[in-house]
Symmetry: C2
Subunit: 230 residues, 2 copies
DNA sequence: GGGGACTTACTGAGCGTTCACTAAACAACG
DNA sequence: CGTTGTTTAGTGAACGCTCAGTAAGTCCCC
C-alpha cells in the first residue's frame, strides 16, 4: 500500500484521475452486481437480498422499490462521470486538443475503473420514463460538452472531421464500449486503455497528428504509476 | 453517373447492399419487437403470443421454448451480417483500403436496415452458455476478418494506427452502436450513415487521406438511389 | 382418416410488494 | 443509575398476480 500524502485539501486538480475502491451501500453494491449478471428483469429482489445477506423486506426499508435501486445506481454513475469529465476539461483549459484529450481520458478511466456502474448503461431501457428522462438529459449534456470542444477544434483547424456530431457520438460509443470488454485481469491497465482511446478518438475526429509521434502533447504528471504484474 | 452493365442474373455482386423488407416467421418477428422493447427477461411468452394473435401453446408448437426464439433470432442475424460482410470483402478484392471500407459499409448498412435484429445484440447476456458460445464465435470471426485487413493495410502503409486490434474493436463497437441510435425517420438514409461511418472508421485506423477530398476512393455504382423526402 | 395447426384449461413455481411485529440502540429525564 | 419513549434495522408470513410450460382435446384440409 502506498502512503497517501496527508493533505488538508486533497489535490483538487487531479481528483478526476483518482479512483479509490468503490464505496456503495451494500444493497446498491449487490444490486449492481446482480443487475450486471442477469439484467434488471432477470434479477429478483430475493436474489439481491440473498446476496446482501438479509431478508427481502430489509431492502424495502432502505429503498422504495426495485426500480429505485436501478435508478439510484444509474444516476449516481452518470453524475460521477460528468463531474470527472468537467474537472478534466477545466484542468485542460480552453485549447481544444488537450481539452478533448482530457475529457476522453477521464471518460475511459471511469469506464474501466467503475466498469460495474458503467456497464449498467445497458439497463436504461428498464428505467421508468421519468427516471430515464433524467438520465438521458445528463448523458446528452456530456455529449454537448464534447461536441463544443470538437467544434472549437475544427474552427481552429486542429480537428478536420466534416461530421463532428457523428464523430462525437462515435467517440462516446467507443468509450462506453470499454465498460463491456475491459477486464481488470487483462493485459492493459485502465490508464493504458484510456491513453489508447485518446489516440483512437483523435483519429476519429480527424486530428492530423494523431498517429505521428507524440499524440497527446501534454505529458501528465503521475505519482506512483501502478503497473500490473501479469 | 456510370451505366450499370445489364445482367440477366440479378447482380450477385451487389447482393450485400440490397435490403428487401424483413421476412421472418411472424412469431420471430413479434418476439424480436418485444425483446427490443422490454428485453428478454422483461418479455413474457404471453406478450409475444398476444402480439402474434395466437395462444401461448401455439408458440410452443413452433419453437421449443422462449430461449430458442432469442437464440434463433441472434444467430440468424449474425450469419446474415457475416455473409454480407464477406461478400463486400470479396467484391472489393485484396487492396486493404477499399476492402476495409466495403466491410465497414456493409456492416453499417446491416445495422441500419436490420436495426431490429442488430439491436438484439444487447441480449447476448440472456443466452444460455452453449448458444452464447456459438454467437460469440461468429462475432469473433467478423472481428478477425476486419483485423486481417487492417493489418494488411498497415504493412502496406495505408493505415497508420499503432494499435490495430484496439482500433478494430472500436470500429466494430461504433458500427454496432448504429443499431442503438439510428431511426428510419431521421435525417440520414442508411446509405448516408454507412458512408459517414466509413469515414469515421478510416480516421480511427489512421488512414491519412481520410479527411481530404475523396475518402472512399472507389465510387460505387448505384441504381435508382433512394432519397428520403423530409 | 390421419396429421398439421392450433385451442381450452391448467400447473407449480416464482414474482414484487406489504403486512404485523420485534430486538437493539439511543436520548432524556427523575 | 434506571426507566421510558423513540428510532433504526430488521424478521417471517403472506398477498395477489404472473411466469414458463404442458396435457388433452378440436378443427380442418389433404
Amino acid at each position: 500500500m502506498s502512503t497517501e500524502p496527508s493533505q488538508a485539501v486533497a489535490a483538487p486538480a487531479q481528483r478526476w484521475r483518482s479512483y479509490g475502491p468503490l464505496t456503495l451501500h451494500p444493497i446498491l453494491q449487490h444490486a449492481m452486481e446482480a443487475f450486471n449478471e442477469h439484467g434488471y428483469h432477470g434479477t429478483s429482489v430475493r436474489e439481491i437480498a440473498g446476496r446482501v445477506g438479509v431478508t427481502v423486506p430489509a431492502l424495502y426499508y432502505h429503498y422504495e422499490n426495485k426500480q429505485a435501486l436501478l435508478s439510484t445506481l444509474l444516476e449516481t454513475s452518470m453524475r460521477d462521470v460528468l463531474d470527472r469529465c468537467r474537472a478534466a476539461a477545466e484542468e485542460a483549459g480552453d485549447d481544444p486538443l488537450p481539452r478533448f484529450s482530457g475529457m476522453v481520458e477521464s471518460i475511459v478511466l471511469y469506464m474501466a475503473h467503475r466498469k460495474g456502474l458503467a456497464f449498467l448503461d445497458t439497463e436504461i431501457r428498464s428505467l421508468e420514463p421519468a427516471n430515464r428522462a433524467r438520465y438521458v438529459a445528463l448523458r446528452d449534456y456530456l455529449e454537448h460538452m464534447l461536441l463544443d470542444t470538437v467544434q472549437a477544434g475544427i474552427r481552429q483547424g486542429t480537428f478536420t472531421t466534416p461530421i463532428p456530431a457523428d464523430a462525437v457520438r462515435a467517440v462516446l460509443i467507443m468509450c462506453q464500449g470499454v465498460a463491456n470488454w475491459y477486464r481488470e485481469s487483462g493485459s492493459l491497465t485502465a490508464e493504458e486503455v484510456a491513453e489508447r482511446h485518446v489516440l483512437l478518438s483523435l483519429g476519429t475526429v480527424g486530428y492530423r497528428g494523431a498517429f505521428s509521434g507524440e499524440a497527446v502533447p501534454a505529458p501528465r504528471p503521475r505519482g506512483a504509476t501502478r503497473r500490473r504484474q501479469a
